[in-house]
């Protein structure tokens, strides 16, 4: 009887840790900022500092969503007092027109599937290699 308990425990541990050791060493993605719109900017800055955006963009997007749709406030005043139109489709993606390189690569790496693009229209992108 005890034997089966130990086998069970081992099997459980194998299954639970499966995602960690099965993934292998995927290359850490580097989001690309090289788009024509970003090149045009004199001061290459997002709505908030890079580190903040990296960590908090999903929360910021949720705030943007509620601000625009639920509160009807569609202008974002950032920590430096600069104003932006609150819109994923028309503000974020205007600069970050390289959704595949900028959004998808990281999201795939992290194994998250945000449902933004079920409704929001992604920018038209050239096929791979032409960027």
């Amino acid at each position: 009887m005890k034997k089966y308990v130990y086998i069970g425990i081992v099997a459980f541990l194998v299954i639970v840790t499966y995602p960690f050791w099965s993934a292998g060493k995927a290359k850490k993605p580097e989001p690309k900022l090289d788009t024509p719109e970003i090149q045009k900017l004199v001061e290459k800055k997002c709505v908030e500092p890079k580190e903040f955006m990296k960590r908090e963009h999903m929360k910021l997007l949720n705030q943007w969503r509620d601000a625009a749709l639920r509160s009807g406030t569609r202008v974002y005043v950032n920590s430096e007092g600069k104003e932006f139109t609150v819109s994923l489709q028309n503000t974020c993606m205007k600069c970050h027109s390289n959704k595949k390189k900028f959004c998808d690569e990281c999201h795939n790496y992290a194994g998250v599937k945000p449902y933004c693009w079920d409704c929001h229209i992604a920018p038209k992108e050239e096929e791979e290699g032409q960027i």
Partner: protein, 264 residues
């Protein structure tokens, strides 16, 4: 300590529940606020209760209806499935008999019997759809617009049962393949959510009147019902207007001036 299976299960079960609750609480507490502010565009059009008057005397040809419907449906990426089962519509027309059921009679003039009447969400002041929504996906904004939050909608369709005006449509399937020409400035919807007219809230925010109003050559009058000097109030003071199913107490914000015998 000796423990039987029953007690072990009780203990681990309680532990799991407490752990999950703690995790939820932790997520709540650590949600970070962002030191920034939201405001409105200075050009934005503001009101306490947006309202519309449909002046049917000014609809002369088939084209007059088509123009406003196309304006609405193309700017909002409303799909065209070409069948009544999947149909989605924000602005459409129907006859007098079906728009104002109970108001018709056998001896109506021919022009009234045949007249097309533009129909859309009434943006009721006392909306049953908002009352029934279990997740506040449909809600009243401070300017009187009955809004739909497609991010939150669970697709239960209680609002469709509650709306006495048939103003709401459901995405029975992926709408994207059925949008003829996509407006890249506005999102589409996804399968499984309810949608309807939003009084062009995204245009009002930029200082523009609703798309249908802009295309209507003055047949659709739009303004603040709470402002005594607004155009809608001036017209309402002068003209006889009716609303759809006003007896239900939902207080529709869309008014109709019935007329146009001279058009026939």
């Amino acid at each position: 300590m000796k423990m039987n299976r029953r007690d072990f299960l009780k203990l681990t079960g309680t532990g799991t529940i407490l752990g999950l609750a703690g995790l939820g609480l932790f997520e709540r507490v650590t949600e970070e606020a962002i030191a920034a502010q939201f405001s409105k565009d200075v050009k934005a059009l503001n009101a306490r209760r947006w309202a519309m008057i449909v002046d049917l005397r000014k609809f002369k040809t088939e084209e007059d209806y088509k123009r406003i419907i196309n304006a609405c449906h193309s700017v909002h990426n409303v799909p065209d499935f070409g069948n009544p089962k999947d149909e989605i519509k924000w602005l459409w027309t129907d006859t007098y008999e079906h728009s104002f059921p109970g108001q018709e009679h056998e001896f109506m003039p021919e022009w009234l019997e045949k007249m097309s009447i533009p129909l859309l969400c009434n943006h009721c002041a006392n909306p049953p759809c908002v009352r029934v929504c279990p997740v506040k996906a449909t809600f009243k904004s401070p300017d009187g617009i009955t809004q739909q939050d497609y991010h939150r909608c669970i697709g239960c369709r209680f609002c469709m049962a509650a709306c006495p005006f048939g103003a709401r449509s459901f995405n029975w399937r992926d709408p994207r393949p059925f949008i003829k020409k996509t407006n890249n400035e506005f999102p589409t919807r996804t399968k499984g959510v309810v949608e309807k007219c939003n009084f062009c809230t995204e245009r009002l925010a930029k200082g523009l009147k609703p798309a249908c109003v802009e295309e209507s050559n003055g047949a659709l009058i739009f303004g603040d019902l709470m402002d005594p000097d607004s155009e809608v109030r001036q017209v309402l003071r002068k003209e006889f207007t009716i609303r759809r199913k006003a007896e239900l107490g939902t207080q529709p914000s869309v008014f109709y001036i019935i007329g146009g015998s001279e058009n026939v």
